[in-house]
Subunit: 336 residues, 2 copies
């Protein structure tokens, strides 16, 4: 079947060809969230689904973690556009064998994250489905001070410019390493590397960093869901630029390095699901973020004027590293 | 498995028990759409899923009809709260065998309805899934004139009062009759009763009637998705009242009567998927709607002070009709 990104491109052209638009639609298909001018406010809206045996496996997943994660991945999209969460709608597709107490565990953890992030669960839908599917739509708000241009308050994929630095919050590879451990040893994984397993099960959306990015003058960001190289590639496509990453600078999670040695860099570059923020901007703006961010910020590369969408990863001697897989294409398959 | 409505009740209590709320959440779980105060505007948001072999069957459904219907059922929820559509997010769960041209047919018809209804398709998600799943989240706006109370501009399930009349737009039973024909005779159904098949495949959300209801002073409505008796039952539950319908007054679609005789009334009472609006209100308000509505409005019964949630259907002699099934519970099963 046609890959996800090719298909999205076709549908985007189909939608654009109809001329269906509104002056209130500030940002549509092609970014982490849609942005809509709603009176004197800007509304951000995003939706993401988790499907059994595609995005998780019920044999190694716990119901409460699924609830947490389904909301977390949507809040991460809000963070990536600079929006503060408002409310969410939750759709559950449930196999007939589902137990009510499992659904309550799912909701319980989702409510924990909702409370911690200031998100209100405002409704949704429950349907029968042969496969467990959790779809969340999250809305957020971009606060634009009176007189300010909304463009100065949002983070988009399309704002990267040659000369920008590329930086990332936190560390990478932990979630992919956690998943690998869980697949190898479902019972013992948590004791071997609790931080990795937790990174996979309970990702922390970087909602607290997003306003710091905006205030520091950053205009371009994405969250690491598909994998660092793939997600930075999305920025480069939408911005019409290329990027170079120095492999040695990528902040690989230390537990991933301890357990998987040199493989850990590959997990950090292509594993995905870290839900850190990758952003680009002038040196002074990136420096401003690093000074104020409560989580570490690491400069890992730079944007240059090259083939749009291209991301090269350089090894210690300046040679280009070859990656087997740039990241996660949800239609192409692979392990959940 | 626990039924949909029981489960929704448990989750609603779970959500409410967390004390997670916001003064901006005007209406949450338990109505057709969530209502959120967003600056000087009121945002309505709703989500509904269609799942293969639960809500449709790919062997008798056409891709373009699925696209139309997935958006239509959400727009119908917006109409039911009195909101005008703004934008929608579309999530497709696609089996690996899906052809790109089928997805484009689905999107093409969805775009036709989007254009006709003033809805902008603003984004969404595409994921792999073993079962074709189409989830739409639609947003709308409730316009509240300066100085007016928002409660006077919305339609809720909770506003029915003893003495109110119960009325319905258009005719009922057509969609269920169309589905029955398609199941009996997939090839010949359309020639035998094009209006019924079209009612099933291409429901028309009553967006044009909703503002007429609001202006006439109606405060209570729901759309007929689960079936007239079940949906009126939702109004009665949320309002703490009971209702009585006179079976002989229910506007059964004439083609359904022609093909299915006395069974047509059962289809009209319990078949569902008509996406007409059922509403309640004082006689003068219902009369005002009937005078101005572009589609027929029929008074079918009344609200009284009785067991909350109870809906009785009376036959020609005033005797109560026994219904085998009140309507469609999405978790309980049955034909799609």
């Amino acid at each position: 079947m046609t890959g996800e990104f090719v298909l999205i491109g076709r549908l985007r052209r189909l939608i654009e060809s109809t001329g269906l638009a509104s002056p209130d639609l500030l940002v549509g298909v092609g970014d982490d969230a849609a942005l809509w001018r709603f009176g004197d406010r800007i509304l951000a809206a995003t939706t993401d689904s988790l499907v059994d045996r595609v995005h998780f496996r019920l044999d190694i997943a716990r119901w409460e973690d699924l609830g947490w994660k389904a909301l977390a991945v949507n809040l991460s999209d809000l963070a990536a556009v600079g929006a503060a969460p408002r409310f969410a709608l939750v759709t559950l597709g449930l196999p007939p064998t589902t137990r009510a107490e499992d659904i309550e565990r799912l909701y319980g953890a989702m409510l924990d994250l909702a409370r911690a992030s200031g998100t209100v669960l405002a409704g949704g839908d429950i349907v029968r489905s042969p496969v467990l599917t959790i779809t969340v739509t999250a809305t957020g708000e971009i606060e634009v001070p009176a007189g300010a241009d909304w463009r100065s308050r949002v983070l988009l994929r399309s704002g990267a410019r040659p000369g920008d630095l590329v930086a990332v919050t936190g560390s990478l590879g932990a979630a992919a390493a956690g998943l690998r451990l869980l697949l190898e040893d479902p019972v013992g994984a948590e004791a071997r590397a609790p931080a990795l397993v937790s990174a996979y099960r309970r990702p922390q959306p970087r909602l607290e960093v997003a306003p710091i990015l905006v205030t520091a003058g950053i205009r371009t960001a994405i969250d690491v869901s598909d994998g660092l190289v793939a997600d930075l590639g999305h920025i480069c496509e939408e911005s019409g630029v290329a990027a170079e990453i120095e492999g040695g600078r990528v902040p690989v999670h230390p537990d991933a390095t301890r357990l998987f040695g040199a493989d850990a860099l590959t997990l950090a570059l292509t594993g995905g699901e870290d839900y850190e923020l990758v952003f680009t901007g002038p040196e002074v703006a990136v420096g401003g973020v690093a000074a104020r961010s409560p989580v570490p910020v690491t400069v890992i590369g730079r944007i240059f004027d090259g083939p749009p969408g291209q991301v090269r990863v350089l090894g210690p001697g300046g040679e280009e590293l070859r990656l087997e897989r740039a990241g996660w294409d949800h239609l192409a398959g692979g392990d959940p």
